[in-house]
């Protein structure tokens, strides 16, 4: 008489073993042996199986003879017999002891066949016909019968299609697997089967805590057997031809096609896991339940307190824990631990009440919190199979995790679960976890010698030392040794968890050993601090500490500590406090030999700060010319501003068709971007003391000819002036930074990889902060709304913006003036007045645009310096988030401007003029005043100059002049009035060297007189003698600037 037992081993294989009743009577147990004395040798197990049936015999030959450790009831140093053997009952007093049992071991495929063949619902045994012995009785133990029942369930699940394909990673290898997907009845059957699991099925001798429960064991068995049964069905050669159940992957098949095909291969093994497939399958199976009253939250806790097994009481490192909690979806403040659902208590009671009070789950049922909790856990396990072990517990409350698993959870599982709608609570430090990096310390080499403050010798040699650091804290030798020994991804350093890579650490230690100390020059030090390159791939340079001026600069002290320089007496402007700070900053960087990017908002005085700097440097004795490069439209503006504020600077304008070679004896040479490219060879002959790039957004495209040309010039420290350092992409900032300090911020490609992609594509706040920290010393940007700036500004600032004429405009202008002067010779009185007024009107139209005078419907682009400047101003205003009113007295020209500006700016432009019906007029005003209304409103001075409330605008531009301050002020007051919450900037555009500029100067210089004589608009002009009129109207030589 024999008893056949079975065990599903923790390695996923089936073990069969046999008790021999005869041995209990005849064999004496060896007290020193742990081998089961009454178990048959594995060969005998195979012989018995063959005796039961030929098919079983063949399968038995596929088994491997192995020892399996079992903990069995033991009495008196001998294993107690199972009740399946007729050897008498075992008295009380038994205890569990480990025994080595000879077993026949089978892989999942053979196991499925064996369990199917041994399934016997009617008899708990069989008769084996043994050669040479004859028939013997073989009782089937409960363990074998239970496993055959599990197989039967797996077989029926497959037969009803209650399974689904998944992607599994087993010991690091991806597999295509089939997994049970039981319906309600099958779940109940499985639950009953798990509850009735014979304890002997769980008797494998495993480490403490690893013994499975019935549910966990059944889950493992079904996982394996459902998968095997599915493969067996799919591989059935008897299937009808042409009905291949899974598509055959062609030679160019992708990973998902290969996964699909592997669902039908013998082992399901894959070369590579299809990226993202696990998550997409989970989302499919999850089905996004419509009614989900509870939400699962997963909370990861780090080890606290000393390790139990550490005699020195050092903190534990591997005792991480993942706890499961639930919260009502409509009351997330009620967070209840999963374990409390079974123990009851106030929290669980509150949860039950919250569910009862929540939305009706349907059919009047009150949801069971435990049921909902398990359903949530199952959903979570769909997304992250590593949570499946928790489902094997009767009362799942959480999972213990080792360090590596904790890191996997932090890095991968937490974001995936959060994206799937689960709550994830991570230790607070994870979001701001310290990074392991390299710290560079540089010192002046000679002890006792203090480097002179205020100068950087970029060629000076400095002693340096690299150290591994957490953030800015260098690590000790002992910590380095601990790191070197660590293989885990998370290491605790100074009480903080740090994510480390063993390969990186080894490379870093090698680097420190061989190249950790030495000498470098100042320029290299700056590059190391700023350009993002690191000597050890993967380990960033987290900090650079230096003494002297470079240290001050990198620490951001260069600007704040810099003393404000004394302005020379002949500098006529009075700087506002923030402009003095800007001057001090420009001066400090210049004295360090470094370039600067002054990026104040428009209207804050970048021009006057620059002129102040050049004046200060000149007063200090600086020699050599500064080259100022700007758009054509502002050449005249620079010349006049320099003459007005810094008369001590000798200015030469290198511009115009008949331009002379640049005067390198001048203090300031003003030229345009176009001419820098055209006259590059000539301009390269001079080593400029400085180069200033105004409106530096013109060089943001580093591939453009003018950008390359200006970078080719030879010079001392450079300055970039721009109100919009970044119009669209961060690459533009790099272009401007690289102009100011060539090479200091690395290549455009490395800058893109380091900052542009993380910030623009991922919204990475750390990268943005790093960018600000590194560039901060070199970029000064103040906004109109900054409290420190706004406090020093009047609520309404007014500017005269000078524009050049194009050659076409100048030709037309001259023709109008010549025609008038010729006509004046023969007319008088009213006719003369009419001719003068008409000519002045035509001149103003020419200043606006040739097409306005010609009325020929010709193209607008590229023919007017004023229009070009208007576009630049509006673009800058829009980039700063401002909204603008543009007034013109010419409604017809406005009608042409509206679509043109709209196309150039890429934004809607409104237009209101005298012909606008009242209702439409009201609608335009309402739309503009809306918070998200169009940003530009074009108005005719007559129709829009009075009565409207347009306080959404904080910028006003007068495109052409009425020469009546009262009328212009009235129009300006559409924006500058009660209800306006921001400061208002007003710009009047005038063309250099024309009647526009002369009358503007007249008004500015003699305001009292102007109020008297100009009060009547343009009528007074008609009274001027012809000679004065000629002086007023004639085009001066500097007019052409566009």
């Amino acid at each position: 008489m024999y008893a056949l037992h079975a065990l599903w081993r923790s390695d996923g294989r089936l073990a069969l073993w046999v008790e021999d009743a005869g041995a209990f009577r005849t064999v004496r147990a060896d007290p020193g042996s742990h081998a089961h004395p009454y178990a048959c040798p594995a060969g005998e197990v195979a012989r018995l199986l063959a005796g039961i049936g030929a098919g079983l015999g063949w399968l038995a030959e596929q088994g491997a003879e192995r020892w399996t450790g079992l903990r069995l009831p033991t009495l008196g140093g001998r294993p107690a017999p199972s009740p399946d053997l007729p050897v008498g009952a075992t008295p009380g007093g038994v205890a569990l002891a480990a025994w080595r049992v000879p077993t026949l071991v089978f892989g999942p495929a053979e196991a499925a066949q064996l369990l199917g063949a041994l399934y016997e619902p009617r008899w708990a045994g069989a008769t084996a016909d043994l050669p040479g012995t004859g028939p013997v009785e073989v009782a089937y133990g409960a363990s074998l019968r239970w496993l055959t029942a599990a197989h039967d369930l797996a077989w029926r699940l497959r037969g009803r299609g209650l399974l689904r394909p998944v992607l599994r990673i087993e010991d690091g290898t991806p597999y295509a697997r089939w997994q049970a997907a039981p319906d309600g009845a099958a779940r109940a059957e499985a639950a009953a089967l798990a509850a009735g699991c014979p304890p002997v099925c769980r008797a494998e001798d495993l480490p403490a805590g690893a013994t499975p429960g019935g549910h966990g064991l059944l889950t493992s068995v079904l996982d394996a057997l459902v998968d095997q049964e599915a493969r067996a069905a799919l591989a059935d050669p008897g299937a009808a031809p042409g009905r291949a159940p899974l598509p055959d992957p062609g030679p160019g098949a992708g990973p998902t096609e290969r996964w699909l095909a592997a669902l039908g291969t013998p082992d399901g093994r894959l070369v590579a896991a299809p990226p993202g497939l696990g998550e997409r399958l989970a989302a499919w199976y999850d089905g996004r339940p419509e009614h989900r009253p509870l939400r699962l939250c997963l909370r990861l806790s780090e080890p606290l307190g000393p390790a139990d097994d550490d005699p020195d009481g050092r903190p534990a490192v591997d005792d991480w824990r993942l706890d499961f909690l639930v919260q009502p979806v409509d009351r997330p403040s009620l967070l209840v631990a999963g374990a409390d659902l079974w123990t009851g208590g106030p929290a669980a009671a509150a949860l039950t009440r919250a569910l009862a009070a929540g939305p009706d789950p349907g059919e009047g049922a009150v949801a069971d919190p435990v049921e909902l909790y398990r359903a949530e856990l199952e959903r979570a396990a769909l997304y992250r199979p590593e949570l499946r072990p928790a489902l094997r517990s009767a009362r799942p409350a959480g999972l213990p995790l080792e360090r590596a698993a904790a890191l996997d959870f932090l890095r991968d599982a937490a974001p995936a679960l959060a994206a799937a709608g689960f709550g994830v609570l991570l230790p607070a430090w994870w979001q701001r976890r310290p990074r392991l990096g390299l710290l560079l310390t540089a010192r002046t080499p000679t002890p006792g010698v203090v480097q002179h403050r205020g100068t950087i010798d970029r060629d000076q040699v400095l002693d340096f030392r690299w150290q591994l650091a957490v953030g800015e804290l260098p690590l000790t030798e002992q910590e380095l040794a601990e790191l070197a020994a660590a293989q885990q991804g998370l290491v605790r350093l100074r009480g903080r968890w740090v994510e480390v890579d063993a390969g990186q650490i080894a490379a870093a230690l090698d680097f420190l050993t061989h190249r950790g100390e030495g000498v470098l020059d100042g320029a290299d030090l700056l590059r190391l601090a700023l350009d993002g390159r690191t000597p050890v791939p993967g380990l960033p340079v987290t900090a650079v500490h230096a003494d002297g001026p470079i240290g001050d600069l990198l620490a951001g002290r260069a600007a704040t500590d810099a003393p404000a320089p004394v302005l020379p007496a002949d500098f006529t402007a009075v700087l506002r406090p923030y402009q003095e700070r800007g001057l001090a900053w420009l001066d400090a960087l210049g004295r360090l030999g470094l370039g600067a990017v002054l990026a104040d908002d428009m209207g804050l005085g970048k021009t006057v700060q620059t002129l102040a700097l050049l004046s200060v440097e000149q007063a200090r004795g600086a020699t050599g010319p500064t080259l100022l490069v700007c758009p054509t439209s502002v050449v005249g503006n620079w010349r006049r501003e320099a003459a007005r504020f810094a008369p001590g600077l000798r200015v030469h304008v290198h511009h115009g068709a008949d331009r002379e070679p640049p005067d390198t004896t001048a203090d300031l040479v003003v030229t345009t971007y176009g001419l820098v490219q055209r006259d590059l060879a000539e301009l390269r002959r001079t080593h400029w003391r400085r180069i200033v790039a105004d409106e530096a957004q013109h060089i943001k495209n580093i591939g453009a000819g003018q950008s390359r040309a200006i970078r080719d010039l030879r010079s001392g420290p450079r300055i970039a002036l721009t109100g919009t350092p970044v119009e669209n992409r961060l690459a533009e900032l790099h272009a401007v930074l690289d102009f100011a300090n060539p090479g200091l911020f690395g290549s455009a490609e490395s800058f893109k990889e380091r900052f542009a992609i993380p910030v623009e594509q991922s919204g990475n706040l750390d990268a943005a902060a790093e960018l600000q920290r590194l560039t901060g010393p070199f970029v000064l940007r103040r906004h109109k709304g900054d409290p420190a700036v706004a406090a020093g500004l009047p609520a309404k600032q007014e500017f005269t913006v000078r524009c050049g004429l194009t050659a076409e405009q100048a030709g037309l202008y001259r023709a109008v003036v010549s025609d008038l002067l010729a006509r004046l010779r023969g007319i008088r009185g009213v006719e003369r007045k009419g001719a003068v007024l008409a000519a002045i009107g035509r001149l103003k139209q020419v200043c606006n645009h040739p097409a306005q005078l010609l009325r020929d419907g010709s193209a607008l682009a590229g023919r007017s310096g004023k229009l070009e400047r208007l576009e630049e101003l509006l673009a800058e205003m829009l980039a700063e988030g401002d909204r603008a009113l543009v007034f013109t007295q010419y409604a017809e020209f406005g009608t042409r401007l509206r679509p043109y500006l709209s196309g150039r700016l890429g934004r809607e432009v409104l237009h209101l003029h005298g012909g606008t019906p009242r209702r439409a007029r009201d609608e335009l005003v309402t739309r503009f005043q809306a918070p998200d209304g169009p940003p530009v409103f074009l108005l005719s001075l007559r129709a829009g100059g009075t009565g409207l409330n347009l306080t959404a605008a904080n910028q006003v531009i007068h495109l052409d002049r009425w020469w009546n301050p009262a009328v212009e002020d009235q129009a300006t007051d559409r924006a500058f009035r009660i209800g306006q919450r921001r400061d208002v900037q007003v710009r009047r555009l005038v063309c250099t060297g024309t009647v526009e500029e002369r009358i503007a100067e007249l008004i500015e210089n003699k305001r009292a007189l102007a109020r008297t004589v100009v009060g009547e608009g343009e009528q007074w002009l008609t009274e001027l003698p012809t000679e004065q009129l000629r002086e007023l109207l004639a085009l001066s030589a500097d007019a052409i600037g566009a």
Binding site: R164, A188, A191, A192, P199, T256, R280, L391, S393, A394
Partner: protein, 98 residues
């Protein structure tokens, strides 16, 4: 051994059977979860039923109706331009045709 004799029909699975907490494969009851040392009295015994389920794979609807695939609907996962659910349908027919 408390295993039911073969001639006693198994109770119909479902709520009346009170299988414990519903779960992944049905929730475990406490009996199957006891520490082994507490199981010495019934160490070799189980509490389950082997019914004669030959042919019971056809219980319920035949064909692929009622399968996990049918309940899921389209996957939104395309393989070679076809939805995964369509590509899996022949496999489910094979499962249920056996």
């Amino acid at each position: 051994m408390t295993e039911r004799p073969p001639d006693v029909p198994a109770p119909a699975p479902g709520p009346a059977a009170d299988p414990g907490v519903p779960g992944d494969l049905g929730a475990p009851g406490d009996r199957g979860e006891r520490p082994l040392a507490d199981c010495l009295a019934d160490f070799w015994q189980g509490d389950f039923t082997l019914g004669d389920t030959a042919g019971s794979a056809a219980v319920g609807s035949s064909g692929s109706s009622g399968t996990a695939l049918r309940d899921l609907g389209p996957s939104g996962i395309t393989v070679g331009g076809r939805d995964l659910a369509d590509l899996l349908a022949p496999a489910y027919r094979r499962f249920t045709d056996d």
